[in-house]
């Protein structure tokens, strides 16, 4: 089974692109699942997943293959993971009531990344699809997505957990104080001075609940990492188009390679208006009474032609190892299946995205 992960900064059109790539693959005969994070309402309706948390077949399709879609429900994915990891359901229940857990599972940066990967892995394990396309959560920096599980794992690391667990009761604490070194004792005191004893108590409760999780979580993280670095798992970097963003992309590509991930395409999305032909110079002369409009037309054409030069330089540099695609800003915002199909045709005309 193949996986395509769409990564990139927020607002670059990852979700729409993931859906369009799903259409491309389904057209070629594959059974495809598009896993989205937070689709716009109209796109969700098009995909048949609005207000639905299960995997749904996209309505109205006449492809050679089949296209399915689903929204990652973070809270549920996180809770499911907890239920499986906790040996007894009472423990899980107690944890669900813990205020720190509530913060952790919903608002902590990184928890969305974790649940997206967790959901991806569970579908991957089921082996029901030829291809899964994952749309990733918005991040300030695309690389954050890949680091999230390891960062989170640290919290569940048993040495951290034991530390707080043992600070729980004063008797347990005094007992542990006799065995741990004086340095650690001082560190704990400092933390208590700064945060107060209540936070320490909350933390202790939390870590008591997740006792013996470390193995399960680490096992999961190893498996997820294996899946993500598998040569059959490809990354597609989606970016908007300006110099600063291109530099960010270059940085991200380097990081991806360093991490042993496989990149197969860079997509510059909405990089020029579909209605401007950048290969043609502005023809002179305009009808009387269009001065303002013509000036704007000229200005935009110059702007996008210059951008095209930056693009060409970038494509030349990176096009050798990976596909560089440039997609236009469409005449109409893409929200229905026809729009997705049109976008998928542009993608296919520039080279296979799988």
């Amino acid at each position: 089974m193949k996986i395509l992960v769409c990564v990139g900064n927020g607002g670059v059109g990852k979700t729409t692109l993931a859906a369009a790539m799903g259409v491309s693959a389904a057209k070629k005969g594959a059974k495809v699942l598009v896993l989205t994070i937070d689709p716009a309402k109209r796109l969700a309706t098009t995909l048949g997943i609005e207000g639905n948390k299960d995997i749904c077949k996209v309505p109205g399709q006449t492809f050679k293959g089949e296209l399915y879609a689903s929204i990652v429900d973070h809270k549920k994915t996180f809770d499911d993971f907890v239920l499986r990891a906790a040996a007894k359901s009472e423990v899980a229940k107690k944890l669900f009531d813990n205020k720190l857990y509530q913060q952790l599972s919903t608002s902590l940066s990184g928890s969305q990344d974790f649940s997206a990967l967790e959901k991806l892995y569970s579908v991957y394990e089921s082996n029901e699809f030829d291809l899964i396309i994952l749309d990733t959560p918005p991040a300030k920096h695309a690389i954050d997505f890949l680091n999230a599980p390891q960062k989170l794992a640290v919290l569940f690391n048993d040495s951290v957990a034991r530390w707080f667990r043992d600070s729980k009761s004063s008797s347990a604490r005094s007992r542990i104080m006799s065995v741990i070194n004086a340095g650690t004792k001082q560190v704990l005191n400092i933390l208590e001075n700064i945060t107060g004893s209540e936070l320490l108590r909350q933390l202790a409760d939390f870590f008591i609940s997740i006792e013996q999780w470390q193995d399960k979580l680490e096992d999961r993280i190893v498996k997820v990492h294996k899946m993500m670095t598998n040569p059959e798992t490809k990354f597609c970097l989606v970016t908007s188009f300006d110099r600063a963003k291109l530099r960010e992309s270059e940085y991200f590509l380097t990081e991806l390679r360093k991490g042993g991930y496989h990149i197969n395409s860079i997509v510059m999305n909405r990089s020029y208006p579909e209605w401007l032909n950048l290969n043609e110079a502005v023809s002179r002369g305009s009808p009387a009474g269009t001065e303002g409009l013509f000036a704007l037309y000229k200005e935009e054409k110059e702007f996008y032609s210059y951008r095209d030069e930056i693009y060409s330089a970038f494509a030349k540099k990176y096009g050798v190892e990976t596909k560089v695609l440039r997609l236009p800003e469409a005449r109409e915002p893409i929200s229905d299946l026809a729009g997705l199909e049109k976008m998928s045709e542009i993608i296919m005309s520039q080279g296979d995205s799988r």
Binding site: S107, K140, L155, Q186, E198, L199, W275, T290, L293, Y297
Partner: protein, 290 residues
């Protein structure tokens, strides 16, 4: 005197960082000593302004205008050093492997430290920040709400002790319109406008905050309709098509302008600057900003 604290946020890709930089430039030009702050581990402004590096210590961009990169870790470190005062103890605390790991992921702790530092002046707590104006280029909507919610959430979880006290004081300052202002950057398109409407309502409901809206890349002075009809007789197909699209865009912008104006009647419009030069873009935007 307390500094002015401005938080800039909005949907991903709407131009938050550019608008925040233009705002900072504007403030600096009007004589205020301004600090532009970006949050995280990676600097966007380093390449944007062509600087050698951008880190926790402010770097000068131009007269009265500096930029800094704050991570939760750095803010927390500075705050704790300020509290502990004894370098050796602080070292012990931060070089402890468990503590290091914990701080990295502890729920709401990094967010709390960042917001704590931003509001340290008016709260008279923590190291001094000698600026007249602090502009925070915040994350996109979702992460921004996590920043806002950290202090309220923490004061809920920890009711007693110094942590709870600090959280309540941060929360109070964030809600004070005399000290903190919020700018929502938006594009004149359906999705960003909808997200702005939701964020506006949420800030109002949860914090009693009335944000200001900046509509970026918006047509401020529409072309007369006569130009579009005159263009129909052009022999240049591309120009005819451009005219047709431009008319649609103009109508969309007007519609979106009216929609956000019902939230903030004083919504500021920023034009598209058709330039790839940072300094030209920022100067033009700063000249338009109020």
């Amino acid at each position: 005197m307390n500094p002015e604290i401005i938080f800039v946020t909005g949907k991903g890709g709407v131009g938050k960082s550019t608008v925040a930089a233009a705002l900072a430039l504007k403030k600096a030009k009007s004589g205020q000593k301004t600090l532009l702050v970006e949050i995280g581990d990676q600097s966007f402004y380093k390449d944007y302004f062509g600087l050698q590096s951008v880190g926790y210590e402010p770097v000068k961009v131009q007269e009265k205008f500096s930029v800094a990169l704050w991570s939760g870790q750095n803010c927390l470190r500075e705050y704790i050093l300020h509290l502990i005062k004894v370098e050796a103890l602080y070292r012990l605390f931060f070089e402890n492997a468990v503590m290091k790991a914990f701080i990295n992921v502890a729920p709401a702790l990094p967010e709390l430290a960042i917001m704590g530092k931003a509001t340290s002046g008016p709260r008279n707590h923590g190291p001094k920040l000698p600026y007249d104006c602090i502009i925070m280029d915040c994350y996109a909507t979702g992460h921004f709400m996590a920043l806002m919610g950290a202090s309220a959430g923490m004061s809920e979880v920890v009711k007693v002790g110094p942590m709870g006290e600090q959280s309540r004081s941060i929360d109070k300052v964030l809600r004070d319109p005399q000290i903190c202002q919020y700018y929502l950057v938006c594009l004149p398109e359906e999705l960003p406008v909808r997200e702005t409407e939701e964020l506006f309502a949420q800030l109002k409901a949860d914090y009693g905050i009335t944000p200001n809206i900046i509509l970026n890349k918006c047509i401020a002075e529409p072309l007369p309709m006569a130009e579009f009809s005159a263009a129909e007789s052009s022999t240049n197909t591309e120009f005819r098509e451009f005219s047709k699209q431009q008319k649609k865009i103009q109508e969309l912008h007007l519609e979106m302008k009216n929609r956000v104006a019902t939230l903030d009647p004083e919504t500021q419009l920023l034009p598209t600057i058709w330039s790839h030069e940072v300094s030209r873009v920022l100067d033009s935007l700063a000249a338009v900003l109020k």
